[in-house]
Symmetry: C2
Subunit: 570 residues, 2 copies
Amino acid sequence: MAAEPSAHALIAKHRPTLDQALEAIRTRAYWSPHPEHPKAYGENGSLGMAEGRAAFDALLGTRLDLGQPGTDDWVGGEVSPYGIELGVTYPHADLDTLLPAMKAGRRAWRDAGAEARAAVCMEILKRISDRTHEFAHAVMHTSGQAFMMAFQAGGPHAQDRGLEAVAYAYAEQVRTPDDAEWTKPQGKRDPLALTKKFKPVPRGTALVIGCNTFPTWNGYPGLFASLATGNAVLVKPHPRAVLPLALTVQVAREVLAETGFDPNLVALAAERPGEGIAKDLATRPEIRIIDYTGSTSFGDWLEANARQAEVYTEKAGVNTVLIDSTADYKGMLSNLAFSLSLYSGQMCTTPQNLLIPRDGITTDQGAKSYDEVVADLARSVGGLLGDDARANALLGAIVNPDVKSRLEAAASLGEVALPSREITNPEFPDAVVRTPVIVKLDGARKYWEGAEDEAAYLSECFGPVSFAVAVDSAAEGLELLRRTIGEKGAMTVGAYTTSEEVAEAVEEVCLEECAQLSLNLTGGVYVNQTAAFSDFHGSGGNPAANAALCDGAFVANRFRVVEVRSEALR
Amino acid sequence: MAAEPSAHALIAKHRPTLDQALEAIRTRAYWSPHPEHPKAYGENGSLGMAEGRAAFDALLGTRLDLGQPGTDDWVGGEVSPYGIELGVTYPHADLDTLLPAMKAGRRAWRDAGAEARAAVCMEILKRISDRTHEFAHAVMHTSGQAFMMAFQAGGPHAQDRGLEAVAYAYAEQVRTPDDAEWTKPQGKRDPLALTKKFKPVPRGTALVIGCNTFPTWNGYPGLFASLATGNAVLVKPHPRAVLPLALTVQVAREVLAETGFDPNLVALAAERPGEGIAKDLATRPEIRIIDYTGSTSFGDWLEANARQAEVYTEKAGVNTVLIDSTADYKGMLSNLAFSLSLYSGQMCTTPQNLLIPRDGITTDQGAKSYDEVVADLARSVGGLLGDDARANALLGAIVNPDVKSRLEAAASLGEVALPSREITNPEFPDAVVRTPVIVKLDGARKYWEGAEDEAAYLSECFGPVSFAVAVDSAAEGLELLRRTIGEKGAMTVGAYTTSEEVAEAVEEVCLEECAQLSLNLTGGVYVNQTAAFSDFHGSGGNPAANAALCDGAFVANRFRVVEVRSEALR
């Protein structure tokens, strides 16, 4: 298991952090090695705010030459949701050259062993961390996230999820020892004795299919889980969000080359507009693992057709918050208002359906009718986003025209409790910035009565659209919650209740339908945010996603263990 | 996590053994709590030899009423490969009644927690262990294994594999704690603080599709992995091998009921002759996990069609032994002779293709030509099976007419080096007992030259048929080995060589193609045998099987973890 000397140095450098990560996933207590505050960067080799901005600006209009084999052309064309044309071009790969080249370094990477691979992955993450300010701009100008969110979610939080995957991958690979002596007594005869060697072997080349909204956060778990378990990784970014993953690939290739491994263990597959290479790639025999974040239709297609690969998908769902009662009405409203507003609701974890009893709820401020709750929530969102500067800092930009169309169409689905408002971004006048719309629907009006309410709230309406769904009772809300998770899936479920009985009932629905539940959040943690090393993102047990970030199942089948046994020498 | 009091007592009883099992899968050293010697039974509540036989005899001709809901009829009709009609009938289930009934006890089983579930599973295994003599006859008279093998492989070795699955399932479920306090510093502000609960939840109902040859050994890993992770388990035995699994279900239901759980968490789905319920069952929405051992065609069908379930398959492969050179010619020959003879080669792990350089090999007895090696091996098999009593004890009976037909057809595939011999079993005159045939083929004669050699050695010929394939060199043998594993899959690979270079090369082929390798076995361990807690059975990385027995990947996706988080109380 000889690793390159420099990999050994990296083990010494990163082992303490790996041990902390291993401890964190065991205790699920708060931990992160990646600072969240922009001012924490700028020393010890990391780029500060101005340096990061300058580094990003210097990238614009350039060719990002990754030195990949089989580059037959250069492609690009990203336009920021904030209106900037990035003008960066990327290698377009001849896959018949690139994919075979990605095999060449696999043996050395495999033989380096789990610890050296973890250390190399951690060095990649460390160098990305040092460039967090630069990555923040790259994420902002591809996803449309506001700068602070792009910085945190695209930087330290994404790096946390990558490191979490490395830790799980390492732990899984060392569950079986490298060697064993096996001696079986045979009564009076000599014992049977074998020497056994065990080695984790990769499945082959892994494919990461990136998404538009969270290129790094959703891309890193699969990328690092596959790489840390010995696979080569081909990254196919979303055509609108190439830069953050191209930079990631660039860093990975640099670190691999410096530590004596083949840089082609990580490569980029950028595509021409409309080329749609994901389907071809996903069914190539070389591709043995796929990580995907995106639409349900393509996720389902991958699960059905990429039969040669292990497929991990995060698809769409319909997230629900059940509002039964609260001991902190103000806290509930402000918590929900923030959840609906953050990144214009363009998160797979944003609540869509707010189920509210039509007879109202009890609160510390007295009884509130359905209409009052909806109006108060609308007022709370309005207040949160009343100041345009603050609104811009929270909302970011609408990521693509489809989201804008859905938002505009939502107003016709029912009575509008809070209309969407257009906001100007003074720094980026071309940015499309919109506040969320809240539409009232009725959970009792069924489609067989000609009503469209049910069709609306039982479909994912990705973007800044929420439905205040009137239900007959908490019990009816629970049944709708059960049905929504079971049929449509959910990345998150929220509930507000002061009743132990209702809390137990909603918990039971979530246990049975397998969804992650946030109960009575009224402070600074929101239903749409999860923390690596502690919270699971998705459950892997309902239609929204077939895997959770990150657990044993996410890594255990990315490698296999090969055993070589022979007669023990006496 | 309140478990029934009696489950608590079982935890106290079995926890020390569970801890030993957890230690064994970590060290891979020899360990088993289940005695292999028939004489070890008969005390401390276990059935002795005569009692076991009597218990089996008492079962013949009876109705095995499991007390299952939805029993609409009674079915049976097993005929032992030794000629006995078992005459046992089993409940035939109305699945629309049985499957819903299997849900009823799931919540209590889930809430009992991982440790209580492990203890209940271990009690089931303990009671099965106490009846090992009885099970041995049941396995013998359904699989055709000789008594001693049915006793060991169907008894302690199967129980070991079941316990191994319980240990892996337990370890996987307790990787995440039940509770966590999460406190995130916020500079000068109050920290964010959440209380988190984590609970393993089952996927639903699991289906075990049993096989004819190893009903318990191949059935127990999936059964216990699914049950220990909180799922209900429906067992669909092979129509020719119902009794061992029906008895298993009976014991499981008894233990569940005694410990206050719903016995319907484990049930049997026996079928009428030709009814073929596996396809219907496998695609029912209630079935979320499937464990299958059997033909490649049905395994592939399950993987493609049972899309609502996690599917674990062990299918067919073509096992190879490369013979390059040896320092113990006699040991090699006797080891191989035993491997080819055991249970008439009716094991998924029996070597089929023996690759031998046409220019011969070097040995401690001097150089041996291809013809000499084949003749010496034939003589070794002939000697091993020369005595009819010993032959009967090793060979068992041919399990079904298909195996007999393949054996008879094999003689026409090439020059017969060792003809199959018919042996009479004095105790069971109707048993079909045959010694293995060894046929010479040529690895250089290709199908495009009109030769059928390649078609023969690249197909699985399940049963007592081996091919001595002449290859141009060890290097050509390695390429054929690589191709065979890659295209056809392999449960086992063996190799004999004194050359470090060849040993490394064969090891590299096995690492790249993902197959388990036994090197230079010349003593009392055989390529077709694996030991639970130490050896992996299959790799899960080549076409012969998509899972290995038993590792983290075998259990990690049989449950999901649901998290409930709420504001921490201050």
